[in-house]
C-alpha cells in the first residue's frame, strides 16, 4: 500500500490507543511511527517527510486541531486523518474543511481506518509524483535560451512556424531549428507532450 519512503505517523496521547494502532497498522505491513503528543511530533517533523498523519483530536497540551493548523502554516504536504471521540464530530468537520483528508469516529472498524489511511497515502503519493514532475519540467524549461523560450511560448500558443517567424522577425528556417532544439531539450516527441509538460511546470498537474 505504501511506497518505500512513506510512513504512517500516529499522534495520540492514550498509550493503549497509540500502541494498538501501531500493532494494527503494522499487521498490514504499513511502516508506522508513533508520537505521544503533538509537540513531540512537531519536534521530529521535517519538510521531506512522506506518508500521512493519524491524529487524535483531543489531547492535553497542544490538541490535534492545533497541530493541524501548525502543519498547514508550514505548508506541510502530509495528509491528515483525524480520529475523534464521541461528540467531537463538529470539530472534526471543521478540520476537514481546513484540508484534512477525513475523520474517523471511535470505535471504528479496521477496514474503515485502512481505507482512509490508504486513501491518504495514495493522495500523498500522487501529490509527491506531481511535485516531482513539476520540478523536472521546471528544470528542463530553465535549460532553454531566451530565444528558445520565446519560440516555445508561441508553439504552445498553437501558432504555425510562419507566423512565429513573422512575429519574432526571423526566418522560418531559424524557427525550425529553434523548435527542434526545444523539443530536444524538453525531451518530448510531440507538441501535445510539450504542452503537457509546460502546464506541469507551471504547477497545474
Amino acid at each position: 500500500v505504501a511506497d518505500a519512503t512513506q510512513r504512517v505517523y500516529i499522534v495520540d496521547d492514550d498509550e493503549a490507543m497509540r500502541d494498538s494502532l501501531v500493532w494494527l497498522l503494522e499487521s498490514h505491513g504499513l511502516p508506522v511511527v508513533a508520537f505521544g503528543s503533538a509537540s513531540s511530533f512537531l519536534d521530529a517533523y521535517r519538510a521531506d517527510m512522506r506518508g500521512c498523519v493519524v491524529l487524535d483530536v483531543r489531547m492535553p497540551g497542544m490538541s490535534g486541531l492545533e497541530l493541524h493548523d501548525r502543519l498547514a502554516a508550514m505548508r506541510a504536504t502530509l495528509p491528515v486523518v483525524f480520529v475523534t471521540g464521541h461528540g467531537d464530530v463538529p470539530m472534526a468537520v471543521s478540520a476537514v474543511k481546513k484540508g484534512a483528508v477525513d475523520f474517523i469516529e471511535k470505535p471504528f472498524a479496521e477496514k474503515d481506518l485502512l481505507r482512509l489511511v490508504t486513501q491518504a497515502l495514495e493522495l500523498e503519493r500522487e501529490q509527491a509524483g506531481a511535485r516531482q514532475r513539476q520540478a523536472e519540467a521546471r528544470r528542463r524549461l530553465e535549460s532553454l535560451t531566451a530565444r528558445e523560450r520565446e519560440v516555445l511560448d508561441l508553439v504552445v500558443a498553437g501558432k504555425p512556424n510562419k507566423l512565429i517567424a513573422d512575429e519574432l522577425g526571423i526566418s522560418p528556417k531559424t524557427v525550425e531549428v529553434h523548435r527542434a532544439r526545444v523539443m530536444e531539450k524538453m525531451e518530448v516527441g510531440s507538441v501535445a507532450e510539450l504542452v503537457q509538460l509546460v502546464l506541469e511546470g507551471r504547477g497545474r498537474a
Partner: protein, 663 residues
C-alpha cells in the same frame, strides 16, 4: 368650618366688651370710695372746727372767770391793807396759800406808792426782794393806770417766752383816799396757760399767748401748722394780747385707717382676682383653641383610620382581655362571611372556627390570650358562613390603650389559600425538576462513560484485529501476539472498571452516609473527569492532603458533585485558552468541616449572575441542560454543607463547598 370661625370671632369680640365692664366698675368703685373718704375727711374737719369754736368759747369763759376770781382775791388783800386789818404775817399766810393753790401765780407782792417792793409772798423767792424798786416802763404804766383809775390794771408781759415771761396785775390800795401802793399779782405766762386750760383741752389744742409781734408762752413748744385755729382776745388784761388756740392733728383714727386700708386691700384683691380671672379666661380660650385643633386632628385621624381600615385587605379583629370580640374590620368580615355586628361580643369558640378544629383552636386561643402568641403568626383554617374552608395566617399583638394599659389583643389575618396552592405547585414542580434532573444527570453520566469506554474498546479492537491479521498471514511471532493479547485484556479490564462505576451511579439507592477520606473521593471523581480534561488539553492539579479528617458523606453523591464541578471547569476553558489548568484544593474549615475548592481559568461569570448559576435550567453551555450546579447544591446542602461560587482572582471561577467532618 367658616361658620365655626365666625362664631368664635364673635364670641371673642363679645368677650372683649365683657372685659371692659368689670374694669370700668372696678375703676368707678375706687373713685367713689376715695370721693367718699374725701367727704368724710372734710366732714371731720368741719366737726373739728365746730368743736374748736365751742371749746374756745368755753375756754374764754373759763379764763375770764378765773382771772376775775384772782383779781377778786387780790382786791380782798388790797382792802385788808387799806383798812389795816392785814398785817405782814396775814399777808404772807393768805398770799402764800393762794399762790400754792393757784399755780398761775408766781408771786403776790405789795409795793408802796413809790413802787418799792415792801412785802413778797411766797418768802423763798430770789426776785421781788423787799426794798427793790420797780423800774420798767411797763410796770410804771400799769401801776399808774391802776392808781389813776382805781381798778386793777394789767401790764404788758415782761420777758420772753424762753426766760419765762410774766404778766403783772396791779390792784391799787387806797386808805382814805391816799394811795398806799398796790398789790401786784405776778402770773407766769406759761403757768397761766397751763392752769387756765384743763388737761383735756391742752391735750387737744395748743394755746399760745402772743401779741402781733411777740410770743410769750405756749402750752407746747412744738409749732403746729393747723387749719383749725381760734383766737381769744385777752383785751381787758392787756393791749393786743391774745390767746391763739390751734388744734393738734387729730389722733389717727384707727377705725378709719383700718377701713381705708381694708378697702385698699380689697381693691387690690379685686384687681388681682380680675387679672387672674382674665388670665384664666385667656388660658381657657387658648385651651379651647387647642382642643378645637385637637378635635379637628382627631377627626381627620379617625377618618384616615377608617379609610385605611376599609381599604386594607388584611383582616383585623380586636378582642378584649377575655377574648370577647370588640371589633372586626370589613376585610375580616368579608373573609369570614359574618358581619361586624354578628361578631361583636362573641366569645370563643368563634363562629368561624371549623367544628372539627374547635378543640385545637381553643387551646391555641388560650395560649395567645396568655400572651404566648408565636411572633411569626400561626396558621388556622377558617370556616366561612357559607361553610367553605380556607387557610389563613393569624398574627396576634397586644392592644394598648392611651393610658398604656393593655386592653386586649389585635389579631390580623391574611388568606393564604393561594399561597398554599402556589407552594404546593412549586413543590410538585420541584419534584418533577428533581426527577428530570436525575434523568439528565444520568444521561450526562452515560454519555461521559460511553466517551471513556471508547478508548479501551478501540484499543482492544485494534489489538485483536492486528492479531487476526498476523495469524492469517502466518508470518507472526508468538511472543508478539501474546504481548498484544495481554494488552488487549488489560484494556478489557479498564473497560470493566468504567462499567462498574456506571453501575454504581445508575443503581437507584438511598443515600448512605459514612466517614470517607476526601482524597479518595476526589481521586475517584477525577478519574472520571480525567479523560475529558485530557481531551480538552486541561491539566488537573489536585491538592487534597491525605491527613484531612474523613468527611461524613454519601461517597457516590459527593463524587458526582466533584465530577460535575471539574467537568464544568474543564469545559469552561476553551481550546484557545493558553492557561488550561484546573486545581482541586481541600483544606480544613474550622474543626467541624472541610472545604473543597475547584478553580478554573475559564470564562468566569459576571458577579451579578452568581446566584443564577445555581438555579435550574440556567446554563452557558450550548448543549447544557443547566441542571448540574442546581443538583450539586442540593446534594451539598443535603449533607449540611454549602456550595457557592466566586470569581477566581486573575480570571476564571472558583466553586467552593463544605462538607461536615462528623455526622
Amino acid at each position: 368650618m367658616p361658620l365655626r370661625t365666625r362664631i368664635v370671632t364673635l364670641l371673642r369680640s363679645r368677650s372683649a366688651w365683657l372685659w371692659v365692664l368689670p374694669h370700668a366698675v372696678l375703676g368707678s368703685f375706687v373713685v367713689a370710695l376715695f370721693a367718699l373718704l374725701g367727704v368724710l375727711e372734710r366732714h371731720e374737719l368741719d366737726n373739728q372746727k365746730l368743736a374748736l369754736a365751742r371749746d374756745v368759747q368755753w375756754a374764754e369763759q373759763t379764763i375770764r372767770t378765773h382771772l376775775e376770781s384772782n383779781v377778786h382775791f387780790l382786791g380782798q388783800l388790797a382792802r385788808g391793807m387799806a383798812d389795816g386789818t392785814l398785817d405782814r404775817e396775814g399777808f404772807q399766810i393768805q398770799a402764800t396759800q393762794y399762790v400754792a393753790n393757784n399755780p398761775e401765780f408766781t408771786h403776790v407782792v405789795w409795793v408802796d406808792e413809790d413802787l418799792v417792793v415792801r412785802w413778797t409772798a411766797p418768802f423763798e423767792t430770789v426776785t421781788w426782794n423787799a426794798g427793790e424798786r420797780l423800774s420798767t416802763l411797763e410796770q410804771t404804766i400799769a401801776f399808774q393806770t391802776a392808781q389813776r383809775m382805781g381798778v386793777p390794771s394789767y401790764g404788758m408781759p415782761l420777758g420772753s417766752a424762753e426766760e419765762g415771761a410774766t404778766i403783772e396785775v396791779h390792784v391799787p390800795i387806797f386808805r382814805a383816799r391816799a394811795s398806799k401802793g398796790a398789790i401786784i399779782g405776778v402770773y407766769g405766762a406759761g403757768d397761766l396757760l397751763r392752769s387756765l386750760a384743763p388737761d383735756w383741752f391742752a391735750s387737744k389744742y395748743r394755746l399760745v399767748l402772743e401779741t402781733d409781734e411777740r410770743v410769750f408762752g405756749a402750752t407746747s413748744s412744738v409749732e403746729i401748722p393747723s387749719d383749725v385755729t381760734g383766737i381769744i382776745p385777752l383785751d381787758p388784761p392787756g393791749r393786743g394780747l391774745r390767746l391763739r388756740v390751734a388744734a393738734f392733728a387729730p389722733e389717727s383714727n384707727v377705725t378709719r385707717d383700718m377701713l381705708v386700708f381694708t378697702i385698699a386691700a380689697l381693691v387690690l384683691v379685686m384687681a388681682m382676682s380680675l387679672w387672674m380671672l382674665a388670665a384664666h379666661v385667656r388660658r381657657r380660650l387658648s385651651a379651647e383653641r387647642d382642643r378645637d385643633r385637637l378635635f379637628a386632628e382627631v377627626r381627620s385621624e379617625s377618618a384616615f383610620r377608617r379609610a385605611m381600615d376599609e381599604s386594607v385587605i388584611t383582616g383585623l379583629r380586636a378582642v378584649d382581655m377575655e377574648g370577647r370580640i370588640t371589633y372586626a374590620n370589613p376585610a375580616f368580615c368579608e373573609m369570614v362571611g359574618w358581619s361586624a355586628e354578628e361578631l361583636k361580643g362573641r366569645m370563643p369558640p368563634f363562629p368561624y372556627w371549623p367544628e372539627e378544629e374547635i378543640a385545637t383552636l381553643s387551646k391555641v386561643t388560650e395560649r395567645w390570650l396568655r400572651g404566648e402568641a408565636p411572633r411569626d403568626g400561626f396558621e388556622i383554617r377558617i370556616r366561612r358562613k357559607s361553610g367553605e374552608r380556607f387557610h389563613a395566617r393569624m398574627y396576634i399583638s397586644p392592644l394598648v390603650g392611651g393610658d398604656g394599659q393593655q386592653t386586649g389583643w389585635m389579631g390580623s389575618m391574611i388568606d393564604i389559600t393561594e399561597q398554599k396552592r402556589t407552594e404546593e405547585l412549586g413543590r410538585q414542580h420541584q419534584e418533577r425538576v428533581q426527577q428530570t434532573s436525575r434523568l439528565i444527570a444520568m444521561g450526562e453520566m452515560a454519555s461521559s462513560i460511553a466517551h471513556e469506554l471508547n478508548q479501551p474498546l478501540a484499543a482492544i479492537a485494534n489489538y485483536c484485529t492486528g492479531c487476526v491479521n498476523r495469524l492469517s498471514a502466518e508470518g507472526f511471532e508468538r511472543e508478539e501476539l501474546l504481548s498484544a493479547m495481554r494488552k488487549a485484556s488489560t484494556q478489557a479490564e479498564r473497560a470493566g472498571k468504567i462499567i462498574r462505576r456506571l453501575r454504581d451511579f445508575v443503581n437507584k439507592r438511598e443515600p448512605h452516609r459514612a466517614p470517607a477520606p476526601l482524597d479518595e473521593v476526589v481521586d475517584d471523581a477525577i478519574g472520571f473527569a480525567q479523560l475529558d480534561a485530557r481531551k480538552a488539553g486541561v491539566e488537573i492539579r489536585v491538592d487534597v492532603p491525605p491527613d484531612l479528617p474523613p468527611v461524613f458523606v454519601d461517597r457516590v453523591m459527593i463524587e458526582q458533585v466533584v465530577l460535575n464541578l471539574v467537568k464544568n471547569g474543564v469545559e469552561a476553558m476553551s481550546p484557545g485558552n493558553d492557561r488550561r489548568e484546573l486545581t482541586v484544593v481541600a483544606r480544613v474549615d474550622g474543626d467541624r468541616a472541610v472545604e473543597l475548592a475547584v478553580a478554573d481559568r475559564g470564562r468566569g461569570f459576571a458577579v451579578e449572575d452568581t446566584e443564577k448559576l445555581f438555579t435550574p435550567f440556567y446554563t452557558t453551555k450550548p448543549e447544557g441542560m443547566g441542571m448540574g450546579l442546581s443538583i450539586c447544591r442540593s446534594i451539598v446542602e443535603f449533607h449540611g454543607g454549602r456550595l457557592w461560587a466566586q470569581p477566581n482572582p486573575g480570571g476564571g471561577s472558583v466553586f467552593r463547598f463544605t462538607l461536615p467532618v462528623r455526622g
